[in-house]
Amino acid sequence: MPVNANILEMRSITKTFPGVKALSDVTLNVTRGEVHAICGENGAGKSTLMKVLSGVYPLGTYDGDIVFEDKTMSFHDIRDSEAHGIVIIHQELALSPHLSIAENIFLNNEQRGAFGLIDWNKTNSEAAKLLARVGLRENPTTKIKNIGVGKQQLVEIAKALSKRVKLLILDEPTAALNDEDSNHLLDLILHLKGQGITSIIISHKLNEIKKVSDSVTVIRDGKTIETISKAEVTEDRIIKDMVGRDLEHRYPDHTPHLGEEVLRVENWTAHHPQDSTRVMVDNVSLNVRAGEIVGIAGLMGAGRTEFAMSLFGRSYGSRITGKVFKNGKEIKIPNVSEAIRNGIAYATEDRKTYGLNLIEDIKRNVSMAALGKLSKYGLVDDNEEFKVANEYRKSMNIKAPTVLAKTGKLSGGNQQKVVLSKWIFSDPDVLILDEPTRGIDVGAKYEIYTIINRLAAEGKAIIVISSELPELLGICDRIYAISEGRITGELPIEKANPEALIKLMTMETPR
């Protein structure tokens, strides 16, 4: 019988990379059977700590001790830690899209029968049992690519269960999930807790931390700040620990100075790109004025991104109809370069896939959407480009030694600032910002909000798409709600509150 209540003790962990001390003297104690949250800004050292724990950084590359179930561990690689029942599920899921659910669950742990060949009946029936445990109603032979991200996350957990997991580590598990899937996942974590599985959950989302965790450890700048028990957890206390200062206001003040209407969209309809009978955006009409910040609230898949991208030079969808008016005059936007020429900018929700060229430097990313401004006779002025990028590096507070730093090496917040710089440099009148603060830490979020306010103060019309209601309520002047591709309501900020918005966002309208 264990005499120690702690299943895991990480004692005085110190990890240095050439030139950087990523972790210094970090201590983490996890009680058996609890859900333990780890909070911290991006770059605080959370992921490094988990990599030390799971053996990605093997024994000898760090200082300190890992004690698991009262024994000092010496992990040489991730297999070692898994053999002891420590399983980590990374933010980017490690599933093979063309293999079935069952094949993925037993990848590298194949269920064998006679002659060492794979026993498919056993594989599929065992997988079905695991799926039942995580509450996923899918056929084990379904291919991974045919199920959504939320379900994929559950498959990852089923895979962990198949390895007889004792300590489950989830790195930002709900970052890519909508509210419904997130809730399901959080319930599952609590359910597994009932079965005696201890979990560590890394998350940015304070409300879900409050919901599931029994204690919270906050890490800042590679050091443990404190561990807070459930009774004492408040959002403000976590934020204060994370940023090291009180954030009086999580959202900067913003007094709107509204001008003329800049953009008006009428009866915008778009269909699915492959299946042109499926309506994705249904008769959407909206408008934005100069200096105004307008929010679009909607669940994932409600058609928010589809609307924005179909508007932005028809970069999404098929059979698109509707009218767009810019400063009262109707305009046609057949492609992206025409959208940019008309002063419309769209900063994507997925900056790594759609926003940045990660192998290029800051300079070339910033200039990408408006190279014409920097060139004569089709030739780019390198020096001028350097100067412009450097100005943005300073004014947007992009944390990088020079603009020659590759964007792939920047943190999420700084990458987002590069994306914003790119679009601001294209001189837009209308900026559509799709999930502008996704995966960004609290401090950088505040900076992004400040930038958005500054742009509005300069008279730009801004549309913010977000699934974080507090964010929309914190920064917008007016909010549209969208559900199943339709605008289901429009609320001025004075009348908007989370309850009203959620009601509109989940409203089902008969077709």
């Binding site: 896939t353 192998i359 350097f386 100067k387």
Partner: protein
């Protein structure tokens, strides 16, 4: 070599002394120009094993003329690879255009200049055909050009009608065999060659100083002055030696002039032009480029039109050199051109690659071919060695990136 200097020197905290600063810079520079050093190493190696025959004037001249068409193809191939594609058809296209040019210049008796222009146009049309399928229909370049490899090899045979076409007009032949010489009569050392070399050197030095000034004006990091001068002196000495060698043989080969013009044009295109930026942007992240207003289909299309044009030019040079358009022409060219680009540092995933790199990569292959031939090593071993060099060059590149990549 490119002039993008790492800015690391200015990020290291305390002011260090200038000597160590210069040293770190030079080391970083050498690391990045590893491929150039590899070329020098290969040259030195084969100079020794061939008792100096490799660097004899006649052999240097031969090296250029024998590898000219591969280098021309490598220039186009870099653009294709940077955009994330591949072109397997260039050898067949070169053969096809060579055959077509034979029909124009020999069988139809058109003037040499008209034959050349028409042939280049045919190359462009071939490129447009492949570009159409790749850019607008969306079929992977590997498939389209694999088909093209068969299609145009077949069409070359059809055009040739199972025979060789030969005896081209002398002006046409000059593309592959001609020299810019005898303009001032025969001298021991050709003055035209030396004159052009001097002009080239002055232009180069002037351009380098101008670039450096510009960067300083904008307060950008530049390399230490000593290193700048040393590097420039080294390059000038290299050009001087090279020009002298050519001048004591027959002068500047026409092929070299074509190459020099192409390197200049495509150098500017890749490093300075908006179109070039778009190619790199597409290779780095196609979606992001598209959402930044880059007309990705158009760019893809023109990259292949360009490749077709350059494949045609390579076909003309090769045909001119042999004075014969035959069914076997251009076999394996695609593989040498692709190897040149990859040895020169182009990335398999796209987004990375330079014209200078591809030229150096092509020269490494050329020196290997030439050196081993002089040594009397058989074709079978030459093949194996070239394969190994390609593998090691890319492995070195991968290793280098991993080391500098940190975590």
């Amino acid at each position: 070599m490119t002039d993008t200097k790492p800015a690391s020197t200015e990020t290291i905290g305390p002011p260090e002394n200038r000597f160590t600063a210069s040293l770190t810079h030079i080391l970083a520079d050498l690391g990045k120009n590893g491929i150039f050093l590899a070329l020098i190493a290969v040259i030195i190696l084969f100079s020794i094993t061939t008792d100096g025959i490799l660097l004899r004037p006649q052999n240097i001249s031969n090296l250029i003329v024998q590898n000219g068409y591969i280098l021309i193809l490598a220039i186009g191939m870099v653009l294709v690879i940077v955009a994330g594609h591949i072109d397997l058809s260039v050898g067949s296209v070169a053969a096809f255009v060579g055959a077509v040019s034979g029909v124009f210049a020999v069988q139809m008796g058109l003037p040499w200049w008209l034959s050349i222009i028409l042939s280049l146009l045919v190359g462009g049309v071939v490129g447009a055909w492949q570009g159409f399928w790749i850019a607008y229909v969306g079929i992977p370049a590997f498939i389209v050009t694999l088909a093209g490899m068969l299609i145009f090899r077949g069409l070359a045979l059809v055009v040739l009608g199972n025979a060789n076409i030969g005896s081209f007009p002398s002006e046409y032949r000059a593309l592959g065999n001609g020299f810019l010489t005898d303009l001032l009569g025969a001298y021991q050392v050709d003055p035209v060659t030396m004159g052009i070399a001097v002009i080239a050197i002055i232009a180069l030095v002037f351009q380098q100083i101008r670039t450096r000034r510009g960067r300083l004006q904008y307060a950008q990091a530049v390399e230490p002055l000593v290193w700048f001068i040393a590097k420039l002196a080294l390059i000038v000495a290299g050009i001087g030696f090279f020009a002298y060698a050519l001048a004591t043989f027959k002068g500047i080969p026409i092929t070299l002039i074509i190459l020099a013009v192409l390197v200049m044009i495509y150098g500017v295109l890749t490093t300075k032009s908006v179109f070039g930026r778009h190619i790199y942007a597409i290779g780095g992240n196609r979606h992001a480029a598209e959402l930044s207003g880059v007309k990705t289909r158009q760019v893809d299309f023109w990259i292949f039109v360009n490749m077709g044009f350059l494949a045609a030019l390579a076909g003309l040079v090769f045909t001119a050199r042999l004075n014969l358009a035959g069914p076997k022409a251009g076999e394996g060219f695609e593989l040498e051109a692709i190897s040149a680009a990859f040895i020169g540092g182009a990335a398999v995933q796209g987004g990375i690659g330079t014209i200078a790199g591809a030229i150096i990569g092509g020269l490494i292959i050329g020196v290997l071919n030439n050196g081993m031939s002089i040594m009397g090593i058989g074709i079978e071993w030459q093949q194996a060695v070239k394969g190994l060099v390609l593998l090691l060059a890319v492995a070195f590149d991968v290793f280098n990136k991993r080391r500098s990549g940190g975590r």
